[in-house]
Subunit: 328 residues, 2 copies
Amino acid sequence: MAKQMYTFEELYTIFSEELKKQNFSKSPKELYEPIIYTISQSGKRLRPIFTLMACDLFGCDINKAMNQAIAIELLHNFTLIHDDIMDEAPVRHGQETVHMKWNQNLAILAGDTMYALAYKYALNAELNILPTLMHTFNNTALEACEGQQMDINFEKREIVSLDEYLLMIKYKTAVLFGASMHIGGIIAKAEDEDIEHLYQYGLNIGLAFQLKDDLLDLYGQTANFGKKTGIDIIEGKKTFLYIKALELADEETRKQLTHHYRNAHPDREQKIADVKNIFDQLNIEDITQKTIEDYLNNSLFHLEQVNRPKENKLILENLAKKLMFREK
Amino acid sequence: MAKQMYTFEELYTIFSEELKKQNFSKSPKELYEPIIYTISQSGKRLRPIFTLMACDLFGCDINKAMNQAIAIELLHNFTLIHDDIMDEAPVRHGQETVHMKWNQNLAILAGDTMYALAYKYALNAELNILPTLMHTFNNTALEACEGQQMDINFEKREIVSLDEYLLMIKYKTAVLFGASMHIGGIIAKAEDEDIEHLYQYGLNIGLAFQLKDDLLDLYGQTANFGKKTGIDIIEGKKTFLYIKALELADEETRKQLTHHYRNAHPDREQKIADVKNIFDQLNIEDITQKTIEDYLNNSLFHLEQVNRPKENKLILENLAKKLMFREK
């Protein structure tokens, strides 16, 4: 009989409890308050749970992966704090962002401190796997910075190709999903080939996850998604939807679309409706959904290649599907 | 005959050449331009040279310590970029700071990237010393963040004790000097006891170095120091001079001094002269110089304890003295 795998919900509870047990109340308290505030917010904890799941998949005690899971959650939250400054975002997870609640300088420094704390946790590993772990962790941090810079660059550019966009979301978002699985596999001392497939499973979920975010911004259920639809259009964000639409549109429609994105409109709802109308004509919702499914299938393909019993992989299979068919 | 040691100047040249050889021209170029700009500025390179000197002291090939020396220089420069944002500093090493030359968001992200690059270099080490190296490196990064927060806290506080001030400069400045020596010693596989003495040598130099900075701000030669004297007074910075003066002053003088620091004065030069007058009455220059010499002596005491021939330690002895008796 195959080993009973931890469910997502179980891992969520176990991880949240572990995170709560960590003592971040250090001195100077002004520095650690925003850190405690940030990590006590109830995000989805997807990335650390990925690490625990990958570890569990190979029959390894998940507690062995706990320090790495915490490291990944800290790294992720550090990027959020700094990204929120750069994006001037007022709210995250329904609460004030750190730079709004305190101030920008503290948000810079608390982010830097979380980054160092992330490495501190990541360093707690067996010697023989430490270099591989640290290189994976470090490369992911570097790529996240590069992805954020690409995102900033794209804001100022008129034209962004689909390939460029996909590379940006790969670096900014997807590599951390990939690395989360990768690290769980390293800790479980899985075969290199299996670890690579796990990485690809995570990476493809990450790409699909971001495209799903793009899609939900306009086609999501407002109530579920917890924010108004069409924000990306109002902010002129060049998402997959917009870039794909430009690619497919005729000359005249392209002009209309770029005009909408370049200029403010007195009636916010009208602007969203106009753009949505263009997207609908070009069948953007279906095309995006189809692309998401392609990434999902890539992800499941790589999962299939992992040399573990099918029953044990079912939880990862279902998680991938659940994330893609979410309505928020 | 004792081995010929590298001089400071030789190590400066070797390190600068090595740093130049590193390829930081990566994509996206917007992100790496400020990194190249920052590290191509000719700072003193004290910290990486400390690492190379410590390595050399134990007869170890300095090339073995090169990656760590670069890591330390990157870590130091990352803290400068972020500190300059927080301090709203317009100039560093006679050139525009990154947030002024480009913008604040880029300064945040370029700093984050240098931080990751620092770890990338630090990770290039033999497996058996990797954990110790990484813990030293990581703790130093954390303490630098904590020291910066203390510094920020002190700006808003009326009273800062001398002990608090010394703890702040220890974390913000001195631990990196200590760690630089420490890391060189680890790479040379020196005895633990010797490494600890080297750490204390560096730490005490770091403390003396900062107090010397405090002193030079008011009592330095303007031409040599490259900036006007009295800046700390104009900015109301609670340096060693100010805190010591408050400690020694009578009630009336203390009132005058806090009044000067709390309020703007229409005549900048007059304000500096008034405060200097108080400092002079209280003999602050000599007291500070004496404290610097105490730290210097501590530093030299620890150097003496290091189990290496006296001739080999002469370069470190002279360097400590040179840094303390500098006029800029």
